[in-house]
Symmetry: C2
Subunit: 143 residues, 2 copies
């Protein structure tokens, strides 16, 4: 089979203070913020920092601060502290990827694609079915 994944779109990192962490990644590693958003549905304030361009699209570090303690990322921080929250992989067609992956027996958290960073259509796979890794599928918008 061909790979479902076109790239590592981003690694999502949970943090307590988004502005502090952006400043750290900028000043220590020279990464540059290309997008800031508040996603009320997911309960996060977030920033995308560009790392690289590739054949399958760009790769980013995504910094995530919870809007409230009672959100997925807020609960993650309470339980595990700051650190890697999920991996997002670029896919050509998120609906097709969801169907293909579900057919392999992996449970989907999202029944339908929803709104992600920078206009992407996204869906999450259940971490219990992916070896403890919260895994996101990311279809970037066509321009």
């Amino acid at each position: 089979m061909d790979s479902v994944f076109q790239r590592i779109d981003h690694v999502g990192i949970a943090c307590h203070n988004l502005e502090e962490k952006i400043e750290f990644y900028e000043s220590t590693f020279g990464l540059v913020v290309v997008s800031r958003e508040v996603n009320e549905e997911q309960g996060v304030r977030e920033a995308m920092l560009h790392v690289a361009d590739g054949d399958g699209g760009a790769s980013y570090i995504q910094l995530l601060e919870p809007l409230h303690p009672d959100t997925a990322v807020g609960k993650y921080l309470s339980k595990r502290g700051e650190g890697v929250h999920h991996i997002g992989y670029g896919v050509a067609d998120v609906a097709k990827a969801m169907a293909d992956i579900a057919a392999k027996g992996v449970r989907l958290i999202d029944e339908r694609p929803r709104h992600g960073s920078m206009g992407a259509s996204i869906a999450f796979l259940h971490p219990k079915d992916v070896g403890g890794v919260l895994t996101e599928l990311v279809e970037t918008p066509r321009h």
Copy 2:
């Protein structure tokens, strides 16, 4: 400043059974193993699965199984269970990147570069200084 990072080289994922997890990533996502190694120094049996090629080099998923419970990855599994263990970023010159990053006040786990996957020279940064993320610098060998 220019970015220190050329790409997301790999995301390292800790697992209990390397062969089972390789089979899962191959059959579910269509990723392909390009390298298998035992790294006695780091106490791991590992596989690199190719995800994408990019301007700054290729990106991989690295699956890691501890050789013994009393290793860094073995202790991680005991404490946190399976999941993302670290992020490895590609750099042009690992010794220079280490010096530049240390000068910003980030502690290095490694005083000197050591042997990583597929002939790379690598060094780890202290996760406490990188927001809970175990961060690896990866210089691939020149061919």
